[in-house]
């Protein structure tokens, strides 16, 4: 056996599959701590989730990877690569590619709560990628833990043997060693050939202002080192490698990435778009014949308009989007104009969470207050002249007379819920124009309900309503299932008799009247009183379907001058003005930011 083969034999590449708050990040931290990759003092809580936003939400957005060494009970030293995966439905494709970089996965299930929909979806992805799955029952120290029931559930629902499942508590540090031992014993060593031409999978990348794009790869065959000429097989771009390294967990330069390794490549790459997740890296001079399977270009699913509240910040917003795009090839944007909001950008996102993240990062990291218009999906409109157009912005929706038919995207939604809530969930899905597909019992207490639902309904407040309607017990996953014909109309909103293009939305004809009424009520609550009366109307075509009025404000004056305390008076006025800053002047009416999202907060019940 050569040195390379001996090394390869002791490599274990694995990831963790878990539902949000089933303890993935804490477990990752404990593994790092146990293997001495970081001392606990060095370690900020939950090292793998590096962005503030991730830490606040307790979810992983950006993938990370760490390289660890572990001396197992058999006396051998193993090289472990733990690849973290994002835990949200918006990032399913990214998850699938990071799974493809592994040979094994820890399936972490809360010993009290059992399997959730997201976990299930990711387990299926892992099985598709032929990963060895090691069940771990976490939070075993909770009084409500019921490991036997959960083991049974894993066996029934997934068909995995759970008899060897590790009982663990990441929080209390229980079972960490057993987990590592199982990884070493059960996860196969990587199987590639060191003598074959280079073949490496890109599973992530990030942009570094000094080094350019840093590409995260898993070497399948061959090896890679500084000076190699490489080629990205999908984009057909070639680069010269400047350095290669491993995540220990800080990025550390190494001489060579060998077969089976997980690491990074720096090659003077300027655009993340040149290094697409799922693409294959090969030797430019001696390329591999076939790229790795599974690559696809990901397209945005949800669009919305982003506008700076201060018109003068348009260019700052463009720069912010450009910077975010450096790290996020799935974010798309192009300039658009709204008569109500001025100059802004129509942005495309993988999903709602992705949209919220980008929005928050622009406001927090770039300090640009934004107006966000309600998200829209892409509608396919066939015109009477036979032409088909794609509409991602309701204000571009054609006149009724020119429309032959409209199609909208549907998703297949799987919802796992305790059977007490079956009625609630079905009612919600019906309200959201869902079409029942089937219902399966996972065990005696929990059910998987499957529906076909228009994506536009999911994009609204489906998730919030699902959570509140089931006291948080429901978990939910979806995948795009195709386009279907629908009877849709465009609803316009008029403030003070002027149409506000940024408030228009597309709605099913049967619901137009009700939605119009609710949104007018909502806007009446959100729009502060002005010095004059403001009528709010919702209309379909020229027909007004709902009307509300914001009564005029009668007076606004500070009575007293507080014994010469001028600075206090100033502060009061500044505070009042600060409040107004979050408003957008639309015609003569001052409209607060939230109003543009009001359409999202509609509860149809």
């Amino acid at each position: 056996m050569t040195d390379v083969q001996a090394r390869q034999k002791n490599i274990r590449n694995f990831c963790i599959i878990a539902h949000i708050d089933h303890g993935k990040s804490t477990l990752a931290d404990r593994i790092l701590e146990y293997t001495g990759a970081l001392t606990s003092r060095e370690m900020q809580e939950q090292v793998l989730d590096q962005m503030d936003l991730e830490r606040e939400r307790g979810i992983t957005i950006k993938l990370q990877a760490v390289h660890l060494t572990y001396k197992a009970d058999d006396g051998e030293e193993y090289l472990l690569n733990l690849i973290d995966t994002p835990g949200h439905v918006d990032f399913t494709y990214e998850v699938s590619r990071s799974l493809a970089a592994c040979e094994g996965a820890l399936l972490v299930v809360d010993a009290a709560q059992g399997i959730e929909a997201q976990t299930l979806a990711n387990v299926y992805l892992a099985l598709d990628n032929n990963l060895e799955i090691i069940p771990v029952l976490n939070k075993i120290d909770l009084p409500s833990a019921d490991p036997e029931r959960v083991k049974q559930e894993i066996e029934d629902v997934i068909g995995l043997d759970a008899s060897e499942a590790v009982h663990a508590s990441a929080k209390a540090g229980i079972g960490i060693k057993e987990i590592l031992e199982q990884v070493v014993k059960q996860v196969p060593a990587p199987s590639g050939e060191s003598e074959e031409p280079l073949k490496a999978l890109i599973f992530d990348s990030h942009y570094d202002p000094y080094k350019g794009v840093i590409v995260y790869v898993r070497v399948i065959n061959g090896s890679i080192k500084a000076g190699s000429k490489i080629k990205m097989m999908a984009t057909e771009k070639t680069f010269e490698v400047i350095e290669v390294g491993a995540f220990k967990p800080r990025m550390t330069i190494v001489d060579e990435l060998m077969v089976g390794d997980v690491g990074f490549i720096v090659a003077g790459i300027k655009h993340v778009g040149d290094t697409r997740v799922g693409d294959t890296v090969t030797d430019a001079k001696k390329p591999t014949l076939e790229p790795l399977p599974g690559y696809r270009k990901i397209n945005p699913m949800v669009y919305c308009g982003l506008y700076p509240i201060e018109t003068s910040e348009y260019n700052d917003l463009r720069e912010a989007l450009e910077k975010l795009q450096l790290n996020d090839a799935s974010l798309s944007f192009e300039p658009e104009t709204s008569s109500a909001l001025g100059f802004g950008f129509r942005c495309g996102f993988l999903g709602l969470l992705h949209m919220e993240i980008i929005q928050e990062r622009i406001e927090r990291e770039f300090n640009i207050p934004l107006i966000t218009t309600a998200p829209s999906v892409i509608y396919r409109v066939t015109l009477t002249n036979g032409e088909t157009i794609q509409i991602d912005n309701p204000s571009n929706y054609p006149e009724v007379g020119k429309i032959e038919s409209v199609e909208e995207p549907y998703v297949k939604a799987a919802i796992i819920v305790p059977n007490d809530y079956v009625g609630t969930v079905m009612e919600l899905c019906q309200n959201k124009r869902g079409e029942f597909v089937n219902m399966e019992y996972m065990d005696t207490t929990r059910v998987t309900i499957t529906y076909q639902i228009p994506l536009s309904e999911i994009v609204y407040d489906f998730f919030d309503q699902l959570k509140s309607g089931t006291k948080g017990y429901a978990s939910f996953d979806y995948e795009i299932s195709g386009y279907r014909k629908s009877n849709l109309v465009k609803m316009d909103i008029l403030l003070n008799n002027e149409q506000v293009d940024a408030l228009s939305f597309i709605v099913h004809r049967d619901r137009a009247y009700q939605r119009g009424r609710i949104i007018c009520e909502k806007l009446r609550e959100l729009i502060p009183r002005q010095m004059f009366e403001v009528p709010i109307q919702a209309s379909v075509g020229t027909k007004v379907v709902a009307r509300e009025t914001v009564k005029a404000m009668r007076k606004n004056v500070l009575a007293k001058c507080y014994g010469g305390d001028i600075s206090r008076k100033r502060k009061l006025l500044e505070k009042q003005k600060e409040g107004k800053k979050r408003m957008k002047q639309v015609g003569s009416v001052e409209v607060p930011q939230e109003a543009f999202m009001a359409v999202l907060k509609i509860d149809d019940n």
């Binding site: 606004n556 004056v557 001058c561 014994g563 010469g564 001028i566 009042q576």
Partner: protein, 401 residues
Amino acid sequence: MTIIQPHAADAAASQGSRKPQAVYLHIPFCTNKCFYCDFNSYVLKNQPVMEYLQGLEREMERTVKAVPPGEIKTIFVGGGTPTVLKPDEMEYFLKTVRTYFPNWSDSIEFSMEANPGTTDLEKLSVMREGGVNRVSFGVQSFQNELLQGIGRIHDTDDVYQSLENARKAGFENMSIDLMFGLPNQTVEMLAESVDKALALDLPHYSIYSLKVEENTLFHTMYKKNQLPLPNEDDELQMYLLLMDRMKKAGYEQYEISNFAKPGYHSRHNMAYWLNEDYYGLGAGAHGYVGHQRHMNIKGVNPYTEATKEGLPRLETFTVPKEEAMEDFMMVGLRVLSGVSESHFKEQFGLAIEEVFAKPLHRMLDAGLMEKTGEGYRLSEQGLLFGNDVFGTFIGSLTVKE
């Protein structure tokens, strides 16, 4: 684009070249705390009043040494309730004022705030002898049930008694404060209060709307939805009604909340509104002298202790010229005759029009301000939306867009 020179470059044209002529003195004691009050005041019982007055004396001494006063045109003693001082304390206090600010104008206005129920003839006589020539009584309302509801300890009988005593003691320049928008107050009640106030035939009235301030009992109640305030329409009716009645009774509304017979404007308050300098002495007092604003330490004992070491400042800061110009508009537009071009030019060496072109035209176009022969003022509509007008000027120079 107007280039704005810093203060120093045109000191001659700027305010502050004159010595201060207005003095504010703070007596931070009350018999009890009213439910709406967030002023710097402490319940009198067991307070070291004499030590405080000695501290105040030390502050006066240090102040006039640092910035010698000009001829004093107005003195205003506020609180708290200055009239909770016992006659001997009052006599001592007024003597110290006279000692450190001896150069009084012939027509000096020397005001003191008073609460009905804390003013007997003896005390009023001491005040009069000590130089006080104007008394402002905190009456607030002529309905006893409303007075109880806002935590006042006096009743309407005390009001008549106090005014009679004041007249006996030789005061003829008197004012009373009224409030509207009080919990459970109706438009009719307010009308009755205004009529009863007018029947007293005083030269000056202040009529304020209640504002619920943080850190007051009312704020707590408001948060719990336990404060039955009049609705906005009623509050507006009250304001329109009182303005109308005051006008018909021959009083000029010279400021948003102030009404006077000719020649009886509160000249001390006018100094604030014209952005002129004033000394601010006493615990928690604010002053504005030579482009500097200061706020004093608020607590009674910390204040008194601090006067032994130096000036008892909590904070002091220099007001940049841009901010001073904004302040000029904010306070000046409260006065109904408006801001004067010549006065602005005198303080800043610039024209209002060139400094504030954008906000000025916005307000003129919106009909909230109007041009006068002298300068600009709030329009009738603008009077009701003063905050919107002032807010337009605040930040227009100091905040970068």
